[in-house]
Assembly symmetry: C2
């Protein structure tokens, strides 16, 4: 790991996206999101994911200049199509539209079909919270874990994001439905570590903390066993019911993760009771800690800590990945 | 367990509630919900909970004739107070109002402060789905499990309900944030069984499947460890931000679970893509099963199976509980 200035990371991404015929503003937006994901410590959806994204663009799965379009309006509930444009751009447009609807009507919901991977879901939670709104969003994904009772992957990781604005740092939950992402399991495997808690089943159906076994047999564990399985399934049902877009089943059939379905909800009230929110965080933090000197965090707290550190010391990047992406600039 | 006719259960509850000065229609509604919870197999919030509810009414914590009232309207987002009325009644009124807002505007949200325990959250998901709407609702609760990293209870079980209408049987997820409820752990303990998966920590901070240990030290496990802990906390934050009502911290300080905060969201579109939903359920079900002859269910499927069985054979009730409640009728 080395640390580099945020602006340098952002500029390099921008140059590569412009080479790929991204319109100027859109290149800047997408570059900013990739750089911000690394800055906030979500390397898997920042620099480390950038080469995969570039390949998707080159393969025609992500269309650099496609514009999202409104398909159907039912009051404060809108259905859009992403026309297979860049997921980060489409998601930003949709959350912005949900925020506008919320500011006019208290609540707004925008669902989108035929969009692409939004990288870090939390990005759009922060977007809503920065606008003074509550933001809730979720996406479906290619199948990565079996449903409860099954052994073959049938459920997407279908992240759920819930963000509530807070002057001292927004509360932002960004939660996928598997106990560990495959990226996280790979990290542990490379370091020859077992997982801190069970993360899936071995080939005999026993719970295991061995990341290599789970990465091989794809029997990753949903959070809370049957509960996360049900939540992942119902989010997919919700997305398809609202957007008319593709389900995890259809995305999986194509083998490549494109053309996903997403939902963005925003809520707005002039007074979101900041003092009551503080009391919750204080109460939780004041409890006795499980380990000496341990600390109980609220969702979003680590993100903010990473961000502040990156702003002071530069963004931590993997040297090889950074060299690879720098090498893309012609 | 014996089986009795649904109508008999409902009538008995109605009589007791009328004795407690419930207005007639409200007695009928609350009695129906208690009976339906038993009918659907959720005994812990049906017959078995009824005596506790009666005691709450007698103690003045639930006010039989209080009417919920609108406090603030921001377009399709409304804030109500429950005035400490019966939670099932208030929740029904709020979901009905959210449904009305959704049918007019595509989406509606009603939050309520100072209400009471809604018994089974799924009730209000079924209510929305029966009206052809998507329903999403959640509540906070008295602290029952530690936050991730903590050892003293600081989080409510804060159930989350998501319902999507489906002609052949609605998809209804009704999920609390702990791996097992204390009621479920008690059932296992009484049968001298260990839990099927880990459900909390022992006094040395090791994961355990011993229900007696967890019931004693209150170190119940959130689903997905840090993930369910974050989700439970953020639902409480959302509830308080929107309703201005009491948080888990405040409810817990009073030792008795009353005056909780809830949120009801409904969405409506003329076409909810029933065929696409069927394809998801089919895809999930068709996967290979982990155990021979095993079956992969969708959320809500077991509820419907229990309901049909109860309608054919009568509602299963615990004989002692049934005798106790029958004894309440003067």
């Amino acid at each position: 790991m080395i640390r580099i200035p945020f602006a340098q990371l952002e500029q390099t991404f921008t140059k590569v996206l412009l080479q790929l015929n991204f319109p100027e503003k859109r290149a800047a937006l997408c570059a900013h999101i990739f750089a911000a994901n690394s800055r906030d410590g979500v390397h898997s959806h920042g620099l480390n994911r950038f080469p995969v994204f570039v390949q998707y663009v080159k393969d025609g799965l992500v269309r650099p200049d496609a514009e999202p379009a409104l398909l159907e309006k039912n009051g404060c509930l809108e259905t859009w199509t992403g026309n297979l444009g860049p997921g980060m751009y489409n998601a930003t447009v949709c959350m912005q539209r949900a925020i506008e609807l919320a500011k006019e009507n208290g609540i707004g919901c925008v669902t989108i079909q035929n969009t692409n991977h939004w990288m870090r879901g939390g990005t759009y939670g922060w977007q809503a919270a920065n606008a003074g709104c509550i933001g809730i969003c979720f996406t479906n994904a290619i199948a990565g874990m079996p449903a409860w009772g099954g052994i073959t992957p049938a459920l997407g990781n279908n992240p759920l994001v819930i963000a509530v604005p807070r002057p001292q740092g927004h509360v932002v939950l960004d939660m996928a439905m598997s106990q560990f992402s495959y990226g996280k399991m790979q990290e542990h495997e490379l370091k020859k570590e077992v997982l801190p808690v069970v993360g899936g089943y071995d080939d005999n159906g026993r719970l295991t903390t061995d990341p290599a076994v789970i990465r091989h047999n794809k029997r990753a564990l949903p959070i809370g066993f049957w509960k996360g399985s049900g939540l992942a399934m119902v989010l997919d049902v919700l997305l398809v019911a609202l957007s008319g877009g593709r389900s995890t089943a259809q995305i999986t059939a194509d083998k490549k993760e494109f053309g996903v379905s997403q939902c963005f909800i925003s809520l707005y009230k002039p007074d979101l009771h900041a003092a009551l929110i503080e009391a919750i965080l204080q109460y939780t933090r004041n409890g006795a800690s499980a380990v000496a000197g341990g600390r109980i965090s609220y969702p979003g707290e680590n993100t903010l800590r990473n961000r502040l550190q990156s702003e002071q010391e530069g963004v931590a990047v993997n040297e090889e990945m950074w060299a690879q992406v720098q090498g893309m600039v012609v």
